[in-house]
Point group: D3
Chain length 138, copies 6
């Protein structure tokens, strides 16, 4: 078993809030991350896939194909978008980085599986100091 990781980026706007709360309640719970006119981040995305290297290529999975899969399933939806308003797989969810990692896992898992590899983790670095990692439902 070898683990390979592809690093990608997206720059998006978002807001942490619950629609049933007032702006004041949201500010109390979520602080400045709840600014009603949005804020944004350069998110760093690290996708780790595992498997046996294939004898004919030496690859667990061609990293160019993994990069294309991430582009098609995740980045086209997230990059230069408003995560709360424009991203189908986050519809109706609280846009915490935790929930975003779970959402990205679900978008990627079938495609990684179809390639013959196993999705191991989805890591998101929201800032230099804050990151989240999800290893699937286990």
């Amino acid at each position: 078993m070898v683990y390979i990781t592809r690093r990608e980026h997206f720059s998006s706007a978002h807001r942490l809030f619950r629609p049933e709360y007032s702006d004041e309640e949201n500010m109390r719970v979520f602080g400045k991350c709840s600014n009603p006119l949005w804020h944004g981040h350069n998110y760093v995305l690290l996708i780790t896939v595992k498997g046996e290297p294939k004898p004919e290529t030496g690859f667990v999975m061609d990293l160019k194909k993994l990069s294309q899969l991430i582009e098609e399933k995740v980045l086209v939806k997230l990059d230069h978008k408003n995560i709360n308003l424009e991203v189908d797989f986050m519809n109706g969810k609280l846009v915490s980085t935790e929930n975003l990692a779970i959402g990205i896992w679900e978008e990627l898992e079938p495609g990684v599986c179809a390639s013959g590899a196993i999705l191991h983790s989805v890591k998101i670095e929201e800032t230099e100091n804050n990151s989240v990692e999800y290893f699937g439902n286990k």
Copy 2:
């Protein structure tokens, strides 16, 4: 003459667009950076100040005071805000990183000058790959 640099961060939403253009024209000129529902970045801000080290402290300017000045004049206005809608010194301007650097220079220059040092440059890294630096009106 010694140069000192303080690095700070802010996370904001913005959009590149001209109000007199249609969304299509804005997309043609500014691409995905013109997304009408905003996107955002983790901006890295590097402020460089120059002067003679003072004999009693060995400092050109106390970096903690430079950091406070940046916080009070710039970061409270920009961090976790929408640069197009909420930042007074960018009011009515195209929110390019170039114009943002010039705006930040104007916010900081009087305070740096009052401390007895000279503002040398304002550098903004919008992403790992794109940055802008302004050395004042010369």
Copy 3:
């Protein structure tokens, strides 16, 4: 289960040595890290906590609260201090990065537990090239 990581910093002086050794013996065992007049580092501290995201916030644990906990329990004791002489939880211990990671774990574990999350790991990067990670007593 989702894992969240907060990155913090502290800058401290320390020395590797055993009091029962002579300076020569300490130099032979610990090399330049045993310099009797101290040396120091910018330590990077990465604290990882795991748990289920809470439905009302989407958070495993509020990263601002995790940051405050690290500040109160660890950074106020370590930052801009001499680890051998001024840090209660390292009293009488060899100040290796391994032992420092174990000490920090013990300082943080009760507070993370009280917040309803689980401390997963304490990682310390002493330099760009040397790091240590501790996952608790298991």
Copy 4:
């Protein structure tokens, strides 16, 4: 159990190809990484070793000794070399980063074991965006 990691570098030339394929077939499978006149990388190597800190030093393993072991067993063979043509432990293998990680594991494992610690993982960052990690045959 504590985990320690040493970060090292090597700069090498290589090529992804299968000798039984034509240049065209190699280009189709491996893309530009198959350029017949070679290309190269600054590889970052992260070696993680685990064990109990020894009471007399506080170390799992002296990081200077780990660094020397990596230098002697791995870097002298790889650094400023052509991995396909000059590295004995990659002889006859496809030079994928996956296979390189497995090869480095086999070079290092006996020496780490002899020091009383356990080799935990070999991680190679081929570029900022592509990395591979191997945890041994399990």
Copy 5:
């Protein structure tokens, strides 16, 4: 005058040597960088362009267009190539990073000028520790 910088990458093989020297003489002068079977690097390329921001875009030069220019004039020739054997603008030159920076300047200067901006500098980071910067013939 505002300065904008675009960061790009290329991964190439090269060798430092003079054809009129023997391998031994080359090794004496250039050390391991003269390995006859090549070595390679991940080069980081930083291109800085200066000018007045244009009123209609707020841009000194559209960074996407600068990126395309670098891609077309420089990266297609260098990336995943052997700099000594395959790069027309380095033909017959010693492949030092200094000479490479001068060569890249000459490739880029006409295109930057045609866009209405001024090429300010070409910086190449060959490794984390070694870099070169060229500001043109002045």
Copy 6:
């Protein structure tokens, strides 16, 4: 004229203080950087040298020789030392990063000059966020 930069590191203890002040006065002026039992940093040192590339090597100055010069003149004195107590060229000076940069300039300038190149700047990054650069007495 081409500029080359070598990046080095040193890890040292220091303290900001004036001996004629009480501990309280030092704390008021220098804050936690004045801790009487020291603190320390991983300093990053960037030395930039300029000149014409020599036709026979393509080098402004052999970066290995620049690295050796920095090692012999600066790093052996600073690395794993107490800058206030053990570094001859800082004797009797306030150990601000500004003064340290000037001190390092004076240590390096004759050796760079003897090699036929020109010392351009000494930059010290004390932390990720604080840095100082000195361009000589002009």
